[in-house]
Symmetry: C2
Subunit: 200 residues, 2 copies
């Protein structure tokens, strides 16, 4: 004896979610069964809406509603000569929050990771290279400071050796409000190597 | 700047799932965006189907497809005089797998837990009491051997003090294939207290 087919179908679909195992899928399915029908209909409707209305910006590959360009690429006031390359859409939100960047973005949708089978052709690198034919003067490689981030930055750094194009990375260093005593060795070493001159 | 509304709607809906936090909801939503449209449509369709076709058995409160009775309650060959009371539908599947029980079930959809606000009126206890007007001779209280399970068994044990009705619980003891050395004190104590006589 097993579950009724219509319940099993939901358990199977939920079990495909990243980070959701069979046990969690079952718990979520039971929880959904106990929710009002209109709540579950709202969920399924939101899924259909998302797939229908949301696509990827044809320039920067970030999410864009109703096709074409995303709000940032479509904004004439943004500096089209500078591209900040990031791993994923949340990074765009994070950099926007910093209010320190007024150029455009490019979302790779991943970082290079040979061990997990993420090779350059799995990322939106070709789309980035196409953009270099435009008025681009600087590309900022803004990735997490880990193995995958460094590997992707190194790969792109070599690939983007184009005359007249500046390729940069954000500074590594002590986080603002961070405690010197608790900084890890690598962060402290990079902070000291990249020290700023206050008076000369 | 935040996410497009149709993406945010999905993140919000997924974030309501039990055991799924805002970060996981975001990861799942991004993953769904990368899936083929027909896969996501199949998921939303399965949710709608489940809410439409699946309901609760009007006798045992387990899941039942297309209304009325579940397959077990509808099966004339099952012993209608014995009811195995369990916490949730997976427990029915587990007991069925044991092939040791041929009666019917009653699913409470929870266990008593005053700390988490689960009081008797939140469980399907009234439906169980209604069933006692039928030809029921024995009720087996088959709950997890923890605080909530013991509390629920104790509560129901008192409630079911009806002349001619046997209320029982499965034996506690050493799991088959288990190692005596690694059995916890309570299990071992219950196994010895409930020892079986082999020869007399």
């Amino acid at each position: 004896m097993s579950y009724p087919p219509s319940l099993q179908a939901v358990v199977d679909e939920l079990g495909r979610f990243p980070g959701v195992g069979p046990k969690s899928a079952q718990r979520i399915a039971f929880w959904l069964m106990r929710q009002p029908t209109e709540d579950v209909r709202r969920l399924s409707q939101s899924l259909d809406d998302m797939k229908e209305n949301l696509s990827f910006c044809e320039r920067c590959c970030n999410f864009a509603e109703s096709g074409g360009l995303c709000p940032i690429c479509a904004d004439d006031r943004r500096d089209q000569t500078t591209i900040c390359v990031v791993e994923s859409p949340p990074d765009v939100v994070a950099v926007e929050r910093s209010r320190a960047f007024h150029g455009t973005y490019h979302v790779l949708h991943g970082l290079l990771s040979p061990l997990e089978g993420v090779t350059p052709d799995r990322l939106r690198i070709q789309e980035l290279l196409t953009r270099l034919h435009g008025p681009v003067k600087e590309v900022i490689l803004c990735f997490n400071a880990n193995l995958e981030g460094d590997a992707t930055a190194m790969y792109l750094g070599r690939l983007l050796q184009v005359p007249g194009l500046v390729v940069s990375q954000p500074a590594n260093g002590l986080p603002v409000g961070g405690d010197l005593e608790f900084a890890d060795d690598l962060t402290l070493s990079r902070a000291i190597t990249g020290r700023r001159v206050l008076a000369d």
